[in-house]
């Protein structure tokens, strides 16, 4: 039977206090909000912490407010379920809300937070195993070992970025506010990630995500496509977030972020450039299929899936292309409906 190891749970009264506790306890401490990622991993020995600093109870992390520029500031402690059930949010940021809706199952969305989902651990089927399994096969560099079991020649860990909301937030150009005892800073969501499955977060361990800022989305629409085998629960085998801008019938800007095919979500917006100047109608009526296929192919080019998740890596790369086409069409459809 797997049991949680012993740990101390600290319950700060504010984010500032949480930041002080993190500074005080250093590497012994980890942050926990919903616990849906961390606690099972502590049972399996994938993560170890003597001290957990709780954030889930802090009301100041659960605020949702309009910002001056017409965007939205969402506290990191807001649960995925709250996002999913917010109709106004779904109108403004359909891709982000859909990504939240596709995380795991209702029970886990009720507990999991949007800040936590941005930090969700990278996955690998040589790593997401019990301590005994990993010991039997040989530990990997992500935990307790020193080589990558998927790509033994690799100098870095090849675990897969598995957050659904991160690519969706990146496509929207979102930022996060990070708080630590040393101060506060705002960075783009894309700056949160490193291309390394082990050290995948670019923030300092004691920095707390206080909120996520979604910029104004006037003239924008967004979409998120998630490939997985079942209708629920599973992590993405491939994920594509798209945001398109069109004030009228013509696309003015496009962003594409792909996930689950590398150790971080990949911003491949350059691949969207051919879309600029296309009319929404031509894209949707099949006149620009070749162009769209080309966009999808170049968007998926950096995808380098390996044999460390469910199903064949060649298939997962193909699915990324298909996901791009799908996500572009979906965002374009929403824009066209709006312009009509």
């Amino acid at each position: 039977m797997l049991r949680l190891p012993r740990f101390r749970y600290l319950r700060p009264q504010s984010v500032a206090e949480a930041a002080d506790l993190m500074a005080e306890h250093g590497e012994q401490a980890m942050l926990v909000a919903g616990g849906t990622d961390l606690l099972p991993k502590m049972k399996r020995g994938q993560m170890e912490a003597e001290i957990l600093v709780g954030l889930g109870h802090l009301a100041e992390l659960r605020q949702l407010e309009r910002s001056d520029d017409g965007g939205l500031r969402i506290g990191a402690g807001v649960t995925l379920s709250q996002i999913v059930h917010d109709a106004a949010l779904a109108r403004l940021y359909p891709g982000y809300v859909r990504a939240a809706a596709l995380v795991s199952s209702p029970a886990l969305r009720n507990a999991g937070t949007i800040g936590g989902n941005l930090c969700v651990d990278t996955r690998c089927n040589f790593y997401d195993q019990s301590y005994e399994w990993r010991m039997a096969v040989g530990f990997c560099m992500k935990k307790d070992g020193d080589i990558c079991r998927v790509a033994p020649a690799s100098k870095r860990c090849r675990a897969i970025a598995s957050s659904d909301t991160a690519p969706a937030a990146m496509a929207l150009g979102a930022t996060v506010t990070l708080v630590s005892s040393a101060g506060r800073r705002e960075v783009p969501v894309s700056a949160l990630y490193e291309d390394d499955g082990q050290f995948y977060l670019a923030k300092a361990a004691d920095e707390i995500i206080e909120s996520i800022q979604l910029p104004a989305a006037t003239d924008w629409s967004s979409s998120y496509v998630k490939v997985r085998r079942r209708g629920s629960i599973d992590f993405p085998l491939a994920g594509v977030a798209v945001a398109l801008k069109a004030a009228g019938p013509v696309i003015e800007e496009g962003r594409i972020v792909i996930t689950a095919v590398a150790s971080r979500p990949l911003d491949v917006s350059e691949a969207a450039e051919p879309l600029v100047g296309c009319t929404l109608a031509s894209l949707l009526e099949g006149q620009r299929d070749e162009l769209l296929t080309g966009v999808a192919a170049s968007a998926a080019r950096p995808a380098k899936p390996l044999d460390n998740a469910d199903l064949h890596y060649v298939w997962r790369k193909q699915m990324t292309r298909r996901g791009v086409e799908q996500a572009v069409r979906e965002a374009a459809t929403a824009l066209l409906a709006r312009s009509a």
């Binding site: 049991r3 596709l102 089927n125 998630k226 079942r230 209708g231 599973d234 064949h312 298909r322 799908q326």
Partner: protein
């Protein structure tokens, strides 16, 4: 289509009614105590040290570091087993603790009892084992010729069937090679038990299992104790599906309890559960079907290889089933079947719902579709033309004497209306392949329809002395039924009450404890046998009590026995002069009767695989409708329609539950369920990576027919329904995917990559 048997005026809860389960409410409310909820004062926790290697010699084992861990009460290994060193359902070839060698990943090497589960785990980890790792034998075909990995050799069992003229030829023949993956039973309640040492030198074991008495016999042999000092008591079972037929930790736990003199509990983690119980045998199957130009089957040839993994378990019986049912529910005058179960360093395989009939059904039904195509015949028509009927001879030479409504199940399913064809835009996205992920592109989605028929035996076969014991006690108008039969979730507890109500006409029926202490064996809850067997024993025990009650009234009132009867909960005379309640009739007496029920004897198969090996058979058909995204290869099972040969529906609600559950388990094998093996190591021992259909992935199951043709000799005419619904749904779903894609797809589960990459390669070839 279901018939309701009448039970007596005004009485509810009798036979034929959709009676609710006594354990339904507590289970729905989370109040039901499963075996993992057991506890005792001063209890220790056990942990097993398991082999990390599929094949290795153990050159040294040092337990002392575990003893040194504070809180550890006992550490045991090979050498600490006082009785027989090994166990096994068919033959004891599986060591309690691995001694000199380990033969599969997860094989127990040592056991620790400590004051906390984490302490026990850490102590087990501290044990120093030196392994000399050897190359694992994981290919079942290579295993037949490879040097033996066990003193009993690598061929676990071989069964030939030669029927009719092996040289017969048809005008049309089709051939194919097929494979099925290793499937897990995926029950939700992990292996768990509590062993309590007793003052008499014995032990009481509380556990979830499928057959208390056979566990007891094996445990007693290993402990070196007389049977009456080992008492097993049933605890709440969180699903079984065959995985609890074999022992997983029973002996080790009892040994720890006896060594420490304290109660010891164990609960497997999910990963341990994957490694600690047997699975459905992966199969490799070659087939050739020959028919005349009209589509009459002339001959079926099959070569079957089942991978039994490291130990024997029930491989011989599974293999015999696969061989006996290899030709399907069809009239096949000539057959040659060559079936072998082999030993490898893969995880051990044994019983799982369908027991050998599932793998061959996938192959022979694929063959029937191929044959229909070769003959340019409608596949349903081909099946109807060859469908077995009562009086036909099967490939084992056995004449079908019972009900065999094969044509009826086929017709019922074929006649059922198809689900609406979705227009290009009216299906909700959640209903498309990829579901909520919104990955489907509607014009790349193709619909397919597939059809399959299957069958298997009910009860134990081939000369096995299969019996069940049950007791009925009537005291102050209250009926108590006691049996050691195991409720695994199927609803036997409900049925036992229904039978007693049916006979005594009273609503109040209690159930005694299921235990080996004080009652004989009820046999296994497997082989779809408990409705028939324990149903039969309960019926017999109740009838015996009823007879004694009536004759005691006859004696007391000095009336002829023939003038009295038990009717609607009262003992009455034909002339109306006697009309007594049960309490009045008993007049302070307590009546108790124990009955032993046996089905008619069966024979072993001879060297040509001929013989009357089976008592009864159940037949079923499925039609599956799927939508396939041709680019992604994702499959949505839209609808599964089925008809089942049930004999008699004794509890329609529970029967439908069995049909839906069995169908879903077959759908799982068709599209997602697979224990992924990498040189003997299980790559996906968790429910994150071993995926089973969720409610969103499970199709609506439409029941087109519950064919109620009462089975001669079966109590109330009812056939078991636990396994038959799990046999043909896999084949039907695979056929539907083939229909949608045009691909051969000769292996299940069919993965998205099998469709998408094959179609993409096909496209490339064409260009």
């Amino acid at each position: 289509m279901t018939t309701v048997l009448t039970t007596g005026p005004g009485l509810r809860g009798g036979l034929g009614e959709s009676v609710r389960r006594p354990d339904g409410g507590p289970k729905a409310r989370g109040e039901f105590a499963f075996s993992s909820d057991l506890e005792a004062e001063d209890m220790l926790w056990a942990h097993l040290l398991r082999s990390p290697h599929p094949s290795a010699a153990i050159s040294s084992l040092d337990l002392s570091p575990a003893f040194a861990v504070p809180g550890v009460a006992a550490v045991l290994a090979a050498g600490d087993v006082p009785g027989r060193q090994s166990f096994g359902l068919d033959y004891p070839d599986q060591p309690v603790f691995a001694g000199k060698v380990v033969r599969h990943v997860g094989e127990p090497i040592a056991a620790v009892a400590a004051d906390h589960p984490i302490t026990a785990r850490r102590a087990a980890e501290a044990i120093a084992v030196t392994y000399e790792v050897t190359e694992p034998l994981t290919d079942p075909e290579a295993a037949m010729e490879a040097p033996p990995i066990h003193e009993r050799g690598n061929v676990l069992f071989h069964q030939d069937i030669v029927h009719g003229d092996p040289g017969a030829t048809g005008e049309v023949s089709v051939e194919g090679s097929y494979a099925t993956a290793m499937q897990d039973q995926a029950f939700l309640g992990p292996e768990s038990a509590l062993a309590v040492p007793a003052g008499d030198g014995g032990v009481d074991l509380y556990l979830a299992t499928q057959w208390l008495h056979v566990d007891r016999d094996q445990i007693a042999a290993c402990l070196g104790l007389p049977l009456d000092l080992v008492r097993l008591h049933l605890s709440g079972v969180g699903g079984a599906f065959g995985a609890r037929e074999d022992m997983s930790m029973q002996v080790q736990l009892c040994l720890l309890a006896m060594r420490t003199g304290r109660p010891v509990k164990i609960v497997f983690s999910r990963e341990e559960s994957f490694l600690g119980h047997v699975h459905r045998h992966p199969a490799r199957m070659w087939y050739r079907h020959s028919a005349d130009a009209d589509g009459n089957l002339v001959k079926v040839e099959a070569k079957l290889i089942l991978d039994g993994g490291a130990y024997l378990s029930s491989s011989p019986a599974v293999l015999q089933n696969a061989a006996c049912f290899a030709a399907g529910p069809y009239r096949v005058p000539n057959a040659v079947v060559d079936a072998t179960a082999v030993r490898t360093n893969n995880p051990p395989c044994g019983a799982m719902r369908g027991f050998g009939a599932v793998q061959v059904c996938f192959a022979y039904e694929t063959q029937m579709d191929k044959l229909a195509a070769a003959l340019r015949m409608d596949p349903v028509e081909l099946r109807l033309r060859n469908a077995l009927r009562t009086g036909d001879t099967m490939i084992t030479g056995q004449v079908l004497s019972g009900a065999a409504p094969v044509a009826e199940v086929i017709r019922a399913v074929a006649a059922a209306p198809l689900p609406a064809e979705p227009g290009p835009s009216d299906a909700p996205e959640i209903a498309l392949p990829g579901g909520a992920g919104r990955t489907a592109e509607r014009d790349r989605v193709r619909r397919g329809i597939g059809f399959a028929v299957g069958f298997k035996n009910l009860m134990y076969s081939a000369g096995f002395d299969d019996f069940t014991t049950a007791r009925c006690r009537l005291e102050e108008g209250r009926v108590t039924i006691t049996s050691a039969a195991v409720e695994v979730g199927q609803g036997l507890v409900t049925l036992m009450q229904q039978i007693a109500r049916h006979i005594f006409g009273v609503a109040d029926v209690s159930l005694g404890e299921a235990t080996t202490a004080g009652i004989g064996s009820a046999g296994s809850t497997s082989a779809s046998r408990q409705t028939w067997m324990t149903g039969g024993a309960v019926e017999a025990a109740c009838r015996a009590v009823a007879e004694r009650l009536v004759s005691s009234v006859a004696q007391r009132l000095e009336r002829p026995l023939a003038s009295l009867r038990l009717d609607g909960g009262r003992v009455c005379s034909d002339d109306g002069a006697v009309d007594l309640s049960l309490v009045g009739a008993a007049s302070g007496q307590v009546f108790e009767e124990t009955a032993v029920y046996r089905h008619p004897p069966t024979e072993e198969l001879d060297e040509k695989g001929q013989g009357n090996a089976h008592v009864s058979f159940a037949f079923g058909a499925h039609r599956a409708v799927v939508d396939v995204d041709l680019d992604l290869g994702l499959v949505r099972v839209v609808d599964v329609t089925t008809a089942q040969d049930v004999g008699r529906a004794l509890n329609p609600l529970q029967l439908i539950g069995q049909i839906e559950g069995g169908t879903a388990q077959g759908v799982g094998l068709a599209v997602m369920e697979e224990i992924v093996l990498d040189r003997g190591t299980v790559r996906n021992p968790s429910f994150t990576d071993y995926i089973i259909p969720t409610a969103l992935d499970s199709p609506p199951v439409t029941i087109a027919g519950l064919i109620e043709e009462p089975e001669p000799g079966a109590p109330h005419g009812a056939k078991g329904a636990g396994e038959p619904p799990a046999i043909s749904s896999t084949a039907a779903v695979a056929a539907a995917i083939r229909d949608a894609t045009g691909l051969e797809l000769a292996r299940v589960p069919i993965r998205p990559q099998d469709i998408a990459l094959a179609l993409a390669a096909f496209e490339e070839d064409r260009q």
